[in-house]
Subunit: 315 residues, 2 copies
Amino acid sequence: MSRIKPEQVKRIALVGTGVIGGGWALHFLARGLDVLAYDPHPDAERRFTHMRDYAWPSLEKLGLAPGASPQRIHFVARLEEAVAEAPVIQENSPEALQSKIEVLARIDAATKPEAVVLSSTSGLRMTDMQVKCEHPERTVVGHPFNPPYLIPLVEVVGGERTAPEAVDWAVEFYRAFGKRPVKLDSEVPGFIATRLQEALWREMLHMVNAGEATVEQIDEAITSGPGLRWAITGPGMNYHLAGGERGMAHVLEQFGPSLKWPWTRLEAPELTPELRDKLIRGCEAESAGRSIPDMIKARDAYLIGILRLLRAPPP
Amino acid sequence: MSRIKPEQVKRIALVGTGVIGGGWALHFLARGLDVLAYDPHPDAERRFTHMRDYAWPSLEKLGLAPGASPQRIHFVARLEEAVAEAPVIQENSPEALQSKIEVLARIDAATKPEAVVLSSTSGLRMTDMQVKCEHPERTVVGHPFNPPYLIPLVEVVGGERTAPEAVDWAVEFYRAFGKRPVKLDSEVPGFIATRLQEALWREMLHMVNAGEATVEQIDEAITSGPGLRWAITGPGMNYHLAGGERGMAHVLEQFGPSLKWPWTRLEAPELTPELRDKLIRGCEAESAGRSIPDMIKARDAYLIGILRLLRAPPP
């Protein structure tokens, strides 16, 4: 079996062109690909055209690949027709396990075995979805964030019957076409970003439910506070940069005890020496040799840029 | 008792000038105030000067108030000398209840009764800290986020013996001098932003502990994904803008069931009709008459600005 090199892909097939599938279409069009699209909804093409007319100016501002055109998409009437000759397919059907199993089996049966089949599922496991595929070894989750034409993150993970090579191919493909793929080590429910987002959302629901804070207070607290930093540094690096010369090691000594405090309804794990080591080593790996003062300097410069941007009307 | 109007304040006293107190000093200097500072550490003034030399160019980039000068700070040798004549005091002593009680009592005894005493505590309740004050009615929590000279959020809440007028004065004072105060309805442990941040952090610790993800994967997933949106729209508004014409109402119908899924270790509250109503009404209040398409347009424009900013070297 010979698979095309990820960076040599010229066209992609999309199954489903709603908010997520249509967002993917815009992203790949902006990166210069041809798109073949299938969606069973009678109004699908009109809805997509509306979305494209609205979003294309944004994509122009972000910068288009050479030859990119909003016209290089074609809707076809049958799923099989869309996927038959495509080297890569991104599936965006409704988020229900039975329907995902059937759609992936149809795609699998209609494509060449070397094609890579990607699913946008936001939380289902590929192990559970690939059960009716003849060639499950090339089925991979590629979970985007909304809107997929602006947010760079794609979480990539295979199922038990997926070949590691197919996962690596997917990572390289997304990277070659302007995304920031994060390859997961295991099929954890909700993947990474949704799990973290969901923890925050559930604590928020408890607070609103208990009358401890309103939606408006919570949104204002996030966008005026930690939300500004999270665009620049993740939760690990945030603490690393707040810990002085010793970074995360110092933070864990100083704030370790507060993990026992009722600062959220989620109980923390025990801060064992092994967990400490993983956190400290992770921050060191992420620093990649940059000093803490240099990273703080960069964060502050970006933070000032974001503050200046956000205090003016939208550009 | 006649208290100065918040916007007429010309000077502030700071007790404690470490990372947080020093950050407050820089913020108030940049807003044109005179600062009188006390810190028992023998090296406090030198450490502050180092911080000031590093951070002042950032404050210049953000824009200074007329007459603002990095020189308008004076360190004094006794706490009482710093606070005696100040109309407002911001306390930044170590985060331990007994020590906070003593420091606030000393400040309280040394100031005029109409002065407002603000505490930077990141999680202690003013009800517990104000117990030895003769005039607890003017003691208020004003919790900043690091670095206080860049992050606008201040969470403001009083204790059981605090007068509501003092809380309102604090809110107006922070707003008049360039902060974005959020007034809390109740003394919930960890306030608002720290509670939410801590829920995310604890889920992250569980994931790292269980080998489900590394620090690097988590940080990359946040900064390439939801972190970019959180600088612009909080967790409530994020969902509201993802729900089509009906916003949050549609999201709760569609994703309500996923609150039962194991997408984080934190169990969600029951999605009762009352909770639904609070969430929907909150998003409507926050929208303040703006349409969802208009808000999406603004969000996307800011998002593009942030993406363009972050892909270049720090400005």
